[in-house]
Symmetry: C2
Subunit: 317 residues, 2 copies
């Protein structure tokens, strides 16, 4: 991970000073670096042995590439959602403005493709460029379902698959690709990543109606204020009586908010067990993620990856 | 070009309905398709003969790819500049909103990289992914120089090289790459593209203070209102007396605008021959573009490409 962090910092550089400045703001904000970690761990699980002569081993370069794609989407997300906080700190758009965030996001996207090109594997490029397109599709679909309480759960799951799980899946799969392992291992790691990503986003969506801001590092109720359709809301709406449905229609569909609406929404979600429903699904995905690893021989690393999946859903308890 | 237009429409498709809808808005708006035309013409100038068995010939697929990169940057530009018009029609952000424009731009970027991956040439990918990064750097640099009258002409030229000429250059160069021609021909076409792109942007910047809106298909004075630093302004500012400089400082640096400021700005630019200075430079680049083609044997196509360069600067007369 240290090598990956060095690669990230080195390749965020540009003669245009604002680019490394804005990038440093994001690097300073830390973040879990979960996606590049998945690439590194997947490569190792597949027994990848880097060329000792390589200055930057392939899996490290690709881990940095995955983080660049993720960072670019974060920058654009925060613009699209008009978010003021990211991981408890002022978001890049709040500090540098929306314009800079859009353009530096574009730069990081382009740089990620330069990193892939340097890696030189067409297979890796196909996986990551498809993931990048799927992320954008997921984000557009999320926007299209915003404020729409008739959204089906299946559609919601499609959104989070696109916006989150696709990159988790690709991050894992490229680990198997660099190790030149049989396709069954690629697909197993892709499945692990997909299920982990689904679990991760479901928990995130539950926390938006459950955790306190300091713990979460973001403003609780963001999804609520934006009229985002997430499972806690869908569950509470579908199970709700007439008056509860009228409440949800006012706050989510018509975005008419008054004081205490968020508290009332959280109470209704608790009453209809929206958090429980969401976390139960997250746990199913987490277990599916663990199961996907079964084709690999038992090892400390395999157990660790399984634990990551289980830890992800324990965030929601 | 018809094959290229078909490829563009086919590959803009997505199960997420808003993506082809927004894309169709851009396709309907037309546009000159100058960049993909450059790829097609460059490939042909280099004697490229497509594989007769290919469903989409390589140069056609790459021409579509170049147009996708361009369209993605247009979508993001219009968001960044808050433009309401594009080619005389309502801009995509004006119709579909900024969020959709940011996200569909990201989709088109990702799709362009999928098209490159399908083409399969690492050399092409290196050229186009570098161009994409350079475009973003140029756009960030433009943002950083906004409202800053101390910007040097060299810096302004760097901005337009990044935001415009880099993709013209890449579009031309990949034409030589698919034809597997010697590097000298690649470099000649890259130089042609660079110089043509510089000429093209200089004329565009001149027209923003000269043409009427119907002719230009965009609002005159956009650059003025945004405090964009372009050569007509730099030339008028540098040649201006005390009172002229105070005017420019108020309108460009402090963005304090009153009625008739644009008319006064155009009068001052005319007085200091800012348009003439800009177009003279554009003509120099256009001639350099023609000269770069000298290594190719004389042909109808070579003369046609030269004429494109000369026509570009004739727009400004």
């Amino acid at each position: 991970m240290q090598a990956c962090n060095r690669a990230i910092v080195a390749r965020m550089d540009s003669p245009v000073a604002l680019i490394p400045q804005l990038a440093a703001h994001l690097v300073a904000a830390g973040g879990k670096r979960l996606r590049p970690l998945l690439t590194l761990a997947s490569a190792r699980l597949c027994g990848y042995r880097p060329d000792p002569a390589a200055i930057i081993p392939r899996h490290v370069g690709l881990a940095a590439c995955v983080e660049f794609i993720h960072t670019a989407t974060l920058l654009h997300d925060d613009v699209v959602d008009d978010s003021q906080l990211r991981r408890g700190l002022a978001s890049a758009n709040a500090v540098f403005g929306n314009k800079a965030s859009v353009l530096v996001g574009d730069f990081l996207f382009a740089r990620s493709f330069q990193l892939m090109t340097e890696d030189g594997s067409l297979k890796v490029m196909a996986i990551l460029s498809k993931a990048a397109a799927t992320i954008a599709e997921g984000e557009v679909l999320q926007m299209a379902t915003q404020n729409d309480l008739s959204t089906q759960t299946a559609r919601y799951l499609e959104v989070i698959h696109g916006k989150t799980a696709a990159l988790f899946a690709a991050a894992c799969r490229v680990g198997a690709v660099v190790a030149a392992r049989p396709e069954a291992e690629e697909l197993a790691l892709e499945s692990f990543g997909t299920n982990l990503g689904m679990a991760f986003q479901l928990v995130d969506d539950a926390l938006d109606y459950a955790a306190d801001q300091a713990e979460l590092g973001k403003t609780v109720g963001d999804d609520f204020r934006e009229g985002k359709i997430t499972l806690p809301v869908l569950a509470a709406y579908e199970a709700g009586d007439e008056s509860e449905r009228r409440f949800w229609q006012r706050v989510i569909e018509r975005s008419e908010h008054i004081d205490d609406d968020l508290d009332h929404a959280m109470a209704l979600i608790a009453h209809r067990d929206g958090i429980g429903v969401t976390l139960a699904r997250a746990r199913d995905y987490a277990h599916a993620a663990c199961d996907a690893l079964a084709i690999f021989p038992d090892s400390r690393l395999r157990r660790l990856l399984g634990d990551v999946a289980l830890y992800t859903v324990s965030r929601g308890r």
